[in-house]
Symmetry: C2
């Protein structure tokens, strides 16, 4: 993936997915960027449905589709042979292909040959841009918000997308900046920071989020947690490169143990907030906590609202569940 | 570079270097690992001298040299054409080649062809191992020391090598673990952490420093600083992967501004020590400060010793200048 934007509109490929859990990325693209999605393409035995018109490759191409989005993870991690003729057909019909698969399309000879012959591009979102630079730490114009986490998979991408959407609805000048594979496929551009050579983490985020209008907000998707035993380096480089004016702490309410990290507890909010602010001050002395985003899906409505109230009283910032309450309370304060 | 060790002994190549500043890495290898250095090879117009016997490729091969060390950076960053016949001759005579150059030998077709034909290996130390894993954070046996810095280029590698040497002299069971290109060429193995994909920083250091005898010390070379605006992600992943029992803070006395980072001051020792210990506790709750290593080369002997005394009184740990005083005071405490 380079920082080039994917061409729109998209034909979203669902293969033989039996449900949308198997097609999480496709679902994210259709949910957050419906205006970019022209149609879906499914095998006859698929049951997943994004609610988009079903189109064949040829029909989608004729209707103007410019990129086929490979938005699902096949079982076993390899590319099913049955997909290859379809990808070839798409390129021959004039579409680029964007893939979030573990397997890189650019390493599959048959596909590379067709791409070369047709002049179509295959974007593997796990491939970082080739022109990365080291960070400079120099301030740049524009405002930046970064979602930071108590752990992996706590809603950092979702929260950033929700804040960006709320800002767009209010005509606030804002851009979502994707740093993970799903986010990149949703936005159609971005940098997969966990795939960047470590020397360039901060620099790649400086490049992702360049100087901008003074009233413009970059809403930057965070990764991991600065207190995560395996991925803190990624999170810290991202924090420094973002030069965040505002961080939003994201957490899944009820999670005590870190995901896939036996023996590691999720740190408390005080430590998380203080650590992010202290480390973030290195590249932005004015960094502040702008809110807390909770995933309260494991709680009843009543318990969820009580938890939100409790945190709000304790930390003095807006606390939201992006799904249950929306993020308007956070944007209100940023706008104020 | 994989984690395979370079075969010894070495023939150290000096090209046409006019002084040892141009051959910094070669000088480091000869200084720290003299027992591995069989001879040097120089062009007629070279003035740099490591004090090793001069040998032709053929003589060195006959005397048993197994690896040619390319330990100098050519002007302009490219590989001079005049070096290629010599590198080919070395491989044909049975030697591997280890290079710290920016240019990768494995991307130069003429050399790759000879390597394939002769079965010799070319190690580009900027290439990280291909079999990296994410960190687990799980404790492992053995003791670990990590040098941490107030900035880049403050003596982290030198201090680690000096502590390792002092331990070896006392028959303490210890291994130097290299994490930078010079360190890797000196030790003959290691992982270039700043070239590792960021997801794997912590994991690569776990692999570099695996479980060991309970009384064994890994002396791990640090990189950058956890408070560095461009490279903190590397430093933090290294700290977490090292699971350091002991950190040694390294600093160049008199440095106020960070190297190549206009506008960034070197943080004070209190902040550096607290931040490293607080972040390091994530993967080793017993991490402690084991000493401070100063580069006092800009000070008079008298001023240097006064500075050392002052820090020692303030921080209650051994303070040394590895060059001026040696590191025995630090090892005394570790042994005690």
């Amino acid at each position: 993936m380079t920082m080039n934007e994917l061409k729109t509109p998209y034909l979203v490929f669902l293969g033989d997915a039996q449900d949308l859990l198997m097609a999480k990325v496709a679902k994210g693209v259709a949910h957050w960027r419906p205006e970019k999605c022209l149609a879906q393409n499914r095998f006859d035995n698929a049951k997943a449905d994004l609610g988009l018109p079903d189109m064949s490759i040829r029909d989608a191409a004729e209707a103007g589709a410019k990129t086929l989005i490979l938005g699902l993870a096949p079982m076993g991690g390899t590319l099913p042979q049955s997909w290859i003729p379809l990808l070839i057909e798409a390129m021959e019909a004039g579409m680029d292909i964007a893939s979030g698969l573990h397997i890189r399309l650019n390493e599959i000879e048959d596909l590379v040959a067709v791409a070369n012959r047709t002049g179509r591009r295959m974007f593997d979102v796990r491939n970082p841009p080739k022109t990365l630079q080291c960070g400079t730490g120099q301030p740049r114009s524009g405002k930046r918000l970064l979602t930071v986490g108590s752990d992996c998979c706590v809603g950092k991408m979702f929260t950033a997308l929700a804040i960006h959407k709320e800002m767009a609805a209010r005509n606030i000048n804002a851009t979502f900046r994707a740093t993970g594979q799903t986010g990149i496929l949703i936005e159609g551009s971005g940098v997969p920071v966990d795939a960047v050579v470590s020397d360039f983490i901060a620099g790649s985020v400086e490049q992702l989020s360049p100087a901008n209008d003074a009233d413009h907000w970059d809403i930057i998707e965070g990764q991991g947690s600065v207190l995560h035993p395996a991925y803190a380096g990624v999170s810290l480089g991202l924090l420094h490169g973002a030069q965040a004016d505002v961080i939003i702490l994201c957490h899944e309410e009820g999670r005590i143990q870190m995901d896939e990290m036996p023996g590691f507890e999720v740190p408390d909010f005080d430590t998380l907030i203080e650590t992010n602010l202290a480390l973030g001050r290195i590249t932005n002395p004015n960094i502040r906590l702008g809110g807390i985003a909770l995933n309260t899906s494991s709680l009843s409505e009543d318990d969820a609202l009580k938890a939100i109230e409790r945190y709000q009283a304790k930390f003095g910032v807006p606390v939201v569940d992006p799904v249950r309450t929306g993020v308007a309370a956070i944007v209100d304060v940023l706008e104020g």
